[in-house]
Symmetry: C2
Subunit: 333 residues, 2 copies
């Protein structure tokens, strides 16, 4: 006699998880969310009275093999925050503010405590970004994930008025690059970093860096959301392009928003690679070119501004506690 539980799927654990996360999800509700949890879909009123031609902007992401670091460190709420913030930053790069988020969490055997930690992380970041968690799927897939492993993805939907979409089209030669620092690797380059640090470098998660943090803390530093400073900037300064620095690195991600015929002239002396990146490079003997392609190297978001806007933008950002960096400018290719 065989049952779903014998086959490795525990419907009761799934129900226990839903009970546990329900109040956290409810706390992320915003005024346009309708209905409760437990129906077949999440409901959100498409009610944007302050916009002339509202455009929904959406993005889907994962956090990659940063999950392996989370598992090894036994810390699961930060990767939940990473995922939401990554999504927020992606649509922010289009000028959009977040409306709602949905998650997918898959594992071999559902550990309710671990899943609850991850999902708690989603709800913390959702609240910080004024974004409602309105749907999720938890999949128990015996045989697909090693014990203790899980994967997840998140989808965000935001909105921007059409006239205020940021898409890089108005970028011109001479425009300036202003960058906001990252908090660490964010969610990119972890396969390479883990190989360099742990396999080749022989370091452990408890290795102390010069700045006093453990390697675990440095690697799990939360992918930050740039929503609040960048939204404030968008309200007061003409921002011609925004690049969220993810896989492909600073150059790869920033180049793809430039109109044809333009290129970047970077001032590579403008910033120093944070310690974690220097450590990865040293342990793995990773060439500069590869480092630039795989990592953000300390730059999380790049704003492209008309030259006359830079000082005002810097002052505004500094007033919000940011430390913007001048990275270079746009040139004819």
């Amino acid at each position: 006699m065989s049952s779903y539980r014998d086959a490795g799927v525990d419907i009761d654990a799934g129900e226990e998880l839903v009970r546990r996360i329900k109040p956290w999800c409810a706390a992320t509700r915003t005024e346009n969310v309708l209905g409760g949890i437990g129906l077949f879909g999440g409901f959100f009123r498409a009610h944007f009275p302050d916009m002339t031609d509202p455009v929904l902007v959406s993005s889907v992401d994962g956090v990659g093999t940063k999950l392996r670091v989370a598992r090894e460190a036994g810390v699961h709420h930060t990767v939940g925050q990473d995922l939401v913030n990554h999504c927020v930053d992606d649509i922010l790069a289009c000028g959009a503010r977040p409306l709602f988020f949905l998650d997918y969490f898959a594992t071999g055997h559902l550990d309710v405590d671990v899943a609850a930690q991850v999902i708690h992380g989603f709800t913390v970041a959702c609240q910080e970004n004024g974004c409602a968690l309105i749907g999720g799927e938890t999949a128990e897939m015996p045989g697909f994930y090693a014990t203790g492993d899980y994967d997840m993805s998140g989808t965000i939907v935001g909105v921007v008025d059409r006239a205020r979409v940021v898409d890089g089209r108005s970028i011109q030669a001479g425009d300036q690059l202003l960058a906001l620092p990252s908090t660490g690797l964010h969610t990119n380059g972890y396969s390479l970093a883990r190989r360099a640090l742990f396999e080749l470098g022989g370091l452990g998660l408890d290795h102390r860096m010069d700045d006093g943090r453990s390697l675990a803390d440095a690697l799990l530093a939360v992918h930050r959301s740039y929503l609040h400073p960048v939204q404030a900037l968008l309200n007061q300064v003409e921002v011609r392009g925004i690049s969220h620095i993810t896989g492909g690195g600073m150059v790869g991600n920033t180049r793809r928003i430039l109109p044809q015929g333009l290129d970047l002239a970077l001032d590579r002396q403008a910033w120093e690679w944070p310690e974690i990146f220097r450590l990865v490079q040293r342990c793995g003997a990773v060439p500069d070119e590869e480092m630039e392609r795989a990592f953000n190297l300390g730059i999380g978001m790049v704003l492209i501004l008309a030259p006359g806007e830079v000082e005002r933008a810097e002052a505004l950002l500094a007033g919000m506690g940011e430390r913007p960096l001048r990275l270079g400018h746009v040139v004819k290719a």
Copy 2:
């Protein structure tokens, strides 16, 4: 000297995949999609001139361990269709029609041919449902998935006018259940089915069923979309509740849309379990109760209608080639 490729991540393969799928994705574009692929987000105009109070309805899903059957059979486009149709049916159960879809595809080592087949499946189903594929994330996660394995999730966003949301609130005792047949297991119960058929039953994917199909074909039958018949019905008949039969089975899914104080009175003689379910039960000696909880048992969607609407609904559905079944009715609990 270490590189991202040495660490198991092949950025070039990812770019090759994007090149390959681009025209398929472009073919799913609908009139409200803005911009192209390659920016940080997908753009969709929130322009619903035929609605008074448009509500966005969203859902996220996976296809579970049906993926293992796909891998073993070497057939990857059907699971892509499964995922989209599953999402379409979830929001259809709220009365919504689909607008756009985003996918997440994760694997240990990116096989461009396999990923392209899966994504082609997404685009086929998106086109059938008038739904634009406007975003996706492909994650190469060395060490997370066994060779040849992959996981995926999909998120759909649709829309319904608020006055036409189907949420079960108006269901009353005496209302009738009208069901639409499933095409097979759809996307639920695969861990139990595989254990029963392959481990306990000793069958192979090439086992011939009485209906002439191989077990592979029966297990990979595409989770159908009910969009076209049910949308037509929603335009002409008052539908009080819709239940998409997924994990939890027919009773579990239909009960959760009933107002408090009501229950289901099922006519279990109204339909026969299709062969694939009888085979699973026989091979695995699975109790009836467990079968009902894990599988749709031949019922893909249940519509709840006022008694006076049933005949008209049956005629309408039959006119579109459907074979609706009367399953029973709603009673006081």
